[in-house]
Amino acid sequence: MDITSILYPAAAISGLGLVFGAGLGFAAQKFAVEVDEKVEMILEKLPGANCGGCGYAGCEAFANAVAEGQIEPSCCFVNDAESTKAIGSILGKEVKVLERQRAMVACRGTDENAKEKNLYYGITDCRDAALIPGGGSKSCSYGCLGLGSCVEVCVFGAMSIKDGVAVVDPEKCTACGTCVRTCPKHIIHLIPAKSTYHVNCMSEDKGKDAKSNCKVACIGCGICVRNCEAKAITMKNKVACIDNNICVDCGVCEEKCPTKAITQIKSVG
């Protein structure tokens, strides 16, 4: 066997490889994406979930913005205090760590509590369903549609639909705010993670209508406001609203609420 019959093909292919390799090497220099060393270090300290809670396209975009000083490291709500401080030390400056928050769905209009006005066979996406006339199956027009758009968008798996209403798993929730932005009914809020009492209703209907639509509606009676010793509860648009920064966790509101719209919630952190 002639050795050249192997050598020639080998030489030809390696030659081709070399030419293309050189071409690529040249291109790599020309199209090099300049990566700041700091950016990579910051990126390592970020959660890497690309949730978009900070308003940037992903963790990498956020890291870029932090390195350029456009935004504070603490604006990543998902990150724990330790990592945020670590980013501060990379940047060589002191950063404040914000209080941990969590998402909360202000509706408990479950299949059992809320009245259905029709059988719903429509679009299975809250954002679209909220736009069409009728908007979902529940009589209450303020409540959770229960179609689960928030579940779909939550990258941390903290949302779920239970009995027709979205609920948040406070342990998994990182307060990225994606569900808050997604919910077309605007019933998901961010509250301090350590809060214990919450008004689970957003209905601005008159007390009678609200009550007939849903057993656990806030009817705007104001009993909680009058009984709260810490003056943490105010009425906003016919709905009670607890200021969790003032609340002393006494539990009188839960006790006095005639419709059980105020409940104790699991606090974390």
Partner: protein
């Protein structure tokens, strides 16, 4: 005129995805959103156009004179892999969001058999350099048309709730692809 016929033929009559059934992987993988489908189509168009020209040159100027025609597969793959690397660099530089959206399917253009297919068909049909280029661009545009149309249909399927549970997702997508292929059969009589 011949070139125009070749172009239309590659794009519609012998559509790479729907008639030759090449490049099915990205066709199903990156067709969930029209936006990314367009991005994928552009990337494949770029790679296919350049690949047709370069593989033609490699074949005519290197493999044939050296009597190494049997090495065409490995040589063509080498060309395509390098081109995909180049495209990856360009996209990463020019559009990080598209780069993120295409994800793993971008490097997978390397194994997109439509690209290798166009190179091999060019060789087997003994097209000239110009014909190869036209055939490559036409085929790639055909791929883009198919994937963008398909993505449009899939976007609508996603919001349709009348689909039986067993057919949701990929099954209905595959059935749709079958119908599209049948529809594209209608182009068979276009060029006689």
């Amino acid at each position: 005129m011949d070139l125009l016929l070749l172009f239309l033929g590659a794009m519609l009559v012998n559509n790479f995805v729907l008639t030759r059934f090449l490049g099915i992987c990205p066709f199903l993988g990156v067709s969930k959103k029209v936006e990314t489908a367009v991005g994928m189509g552009m990337a494949v168009t770029f790679v296919m156009a350049l690949a047709s020209v370069i593989t033609h040159l490699v074949h005519k100027l290197l493999l044939v004179p050296a009597k190494l025609e049997y090495l065409y597969t490995i040589a063509f793959i080498l060309v395509i892999a390098s081109l995909v690397q180049l495209v990856e660099m360009v996209i990463q530089k020019s559009s990080p969001s598209l780069y993120a959206a295409l994800g793993v399917f971008l490097p997978l253009i390397t194994t997109n058999c439509a690209v290798l297919g166009v190179a091999i068909i060019n060789m087997q049909e003994e097209y000239t350099l110009m014909e190869s280029l036209v055939h490559g661009v036409g085929g790639a545009l055909g791929f883009t048309i198919a994937i963008v149309l398909f993505a449009g249909i899939r976007e609508r399927l996603d919001t349709n709730i009348n689909i039986p549970e067993a057919l949701k997702g990929l099954p209905i997508a595959l059935i749709t692809a079958g119908f599209m292929a049948t529809a594209f059969l209608g182009f068979q009589g276009l060029i006689s």
